[in-house]
């Protein structure tokens, strides 16, 4: 899901930064609407960002390989508007500390993970329509939100990688590669969906206030 430095043209990297600027601005507007003093929400959002950062170290076995969790869906579900800045900060720290991702591609990567997280946040908010305390609607919405977040991110990354790689690859090979990359992420998206639904059910029992992103 992380696009590293050097692989995409500079124009795409700069466009990624521009889009990230726009999405950050939109998120900050949303946060400011939500809080009278937005600073009050930072310590909790930061702690959750760090928690997500640590949780991405958990590996799930999908024989014969094991994959690490993306958790962009869960971030959207739990952080609401804070999800985008949180992902941006998390990705910057990953790039700086582990050289995972890239500096020139930070904007693109933030869009690839952050935009689906915002979509996941919107989907999970539908629980207020179906009953926010009922386990089944919460679990189903959490599954859909996380599944879509991973699938959407993977599809966007695959399309971007194939069309932005600055070397000639024939069209049929491109289509095959996009399809293969997307299909490879399908089991990950399914597992992420089930995992997120399980975490949401756990939180619903133990501390439901944590699922109210507007009360961060």
């Amino acid at each position: 899901m992380h696009i590293p430095d050097g692989i995409i043209p500079a124009s795409v990297a700069v466009s990624g930064y521009a889009a990230t600027g726009g999405l950050t601005w939109l998120s900050l507007l949303g946060i400011k609407k939500q809080f009278t003093n937005p600073r009050n929400g930072i310590p909790k959002a930061a702690l959750l960002t760090a928690a997500f950062f640590a949780a991405s170290l958990i590996h799930i076995p999908i024989p014969p390989v094991s994959v690490h969790l993306v958790l962009s869906g869960l971030m959207g579900v739990m952080l609401g508007w804070f999800a985008f800045p949180a992902i941006l900060v998390g990705l910057l720290l990953q790039a700086v500390m582990f050289q995972h991702g890239g500096l020139t591609t930070l904007g693109i990567n933030a869009c690839l993970m952050g935009l689906p997280a915002l979509v996941a946040a919107s989907i999970f908010r539908l629980r207020y329509l179906f009953g926010k305390e009922k386990p089944l609607p919460n679990a189903i919405l959490a599954f859909i939100a996380a599944f879509l977040a991973v699938a959407m991110g993977a599809l966007m990354a695959a399309l971007l990688l194939i069309y932005a790689i600055p070397v000639y690859i024939d069209i049929s090979a491109e289509r095959t590669a996009v399809l293969a990359l997307s299909l490879a992420h399908l089991p990950i998206a399914l597992i992420e969906g089930v995992f997120t639904a399980m975490v949401v059910l756990f939180l619903l029992k133990v501390q439901p206030a944590l699922l109210e992103s507007e009360k961060l």
Binding site: P43, L57, P85
Partner: protein, 252 residues
């Protein structure tokens, strides 16, 4: 900790670590972006020489760079396996269905050189600039305080939470949890959920303690900006080099 201490000793006094962060960050970022622009293969040699020079000025040992390149290197390996055999039409060498293609090889050379060049400068930049200084530099570049505060707080908690998570997993293993199949998903979800609940409870306490000490009421001013001639000189060299790469790419 020992490794971090050794690293601080290695970079202490180096030209790059003495460079004012508020000029170093934009200077080296401009250089990094100029590397990203490069598509002309003739610019690859100057690119790698510039990256090597920046790394030399950081005072870091070469072994540190290799250790940092290990993880992203796997990506490079994947590209090296795919590109030369799938991209392009000029076949250089063929063995059965496998054909080594010129365009793919040149593409690999371009991507690998830019990738290593950018990473080398980025490693030198962040190994010689503590995160607190990076945050100050980002603030002075106009990044909203909400993002920089979030960055500092997140950095503060990452190591602690990673330790908590490790401890919980050890506790689970001691209770007989193996975690080798998909059936372990529920246990892993509950471990993650518990970590989030604990984190949240801790965040509440930390926030209350910080609010008592005045956090959120006033905005602290940034440390005084007192650059010397050398800081501007290094910035000018970085901008000149970056301009050289842009001109080299688009004009010559």
């Amino acid at each position: 900790m020992i490794a971090e201490a050794a690293l601080s000793t290695a970079v202490a006094g180096s030209l790059l670590s003495r460079w004012e962060a508020r000029l170093k960050l934009p200077g080296l970022l401009i250089l990094i972006f100029s590397f990203a622009i490069v598509q002309d293969l003739r610019l690859l040699a100057p690119l790698i020489i510039t990256a090597a020079l920046v790394y030399y000025l950081s005072g870091l040992p070469l072994s540190y760079l290799f250790s940092r390149l290990k993880l992203p290197g796997f990506f490079l390996l994947a590209i090296a396996i795919i590109l030369p055999f799938w991209s392009g039409q000029s076949v250089l060498w063929q063995l059965g269905p496998l054909a080594l293609r010129l365009e793919g090889l040149l593409g690999l050379l371009l991507i690998a050189t830019k990738f290593i060049g950018i990473l080398t400068v980025a490693v030198a930049l962040f190994a010689t600039t503590p995160l607190a200084q990076v945050t100050v530099a980002l603030r002075s570049l106009g990044i909203p305080w909400l993002l920089t505060d979030l960055l500092l707080f997140t950095y503060r908690y990452i190591f602690q939470l990673a330790r908590d998570l490790q401890r919980m997993r050890t506790a689970a293993r001691l209770r007989g949890f193996v975690g080798g199949s998909l059936f372990s998903l529920k246990t892993l979800a509950h471990i993650t959920g518990s970590m989030l609940v604990r984190s949240h409870a801790q965040a509440e306490r930390v926030f209350q303690a910080m609010a008592l000490r005045g956090y959120g009421n006033t905005s602290l001013p940034l440390p005084a900006f007192q650059p010397v001639l050398l800081d501007f000189l290094l910035l000018s060299i970085a901008v000149l080099l970056a301009t050289g790469f842009v001109l080299g790419q688009y004009i010559f």
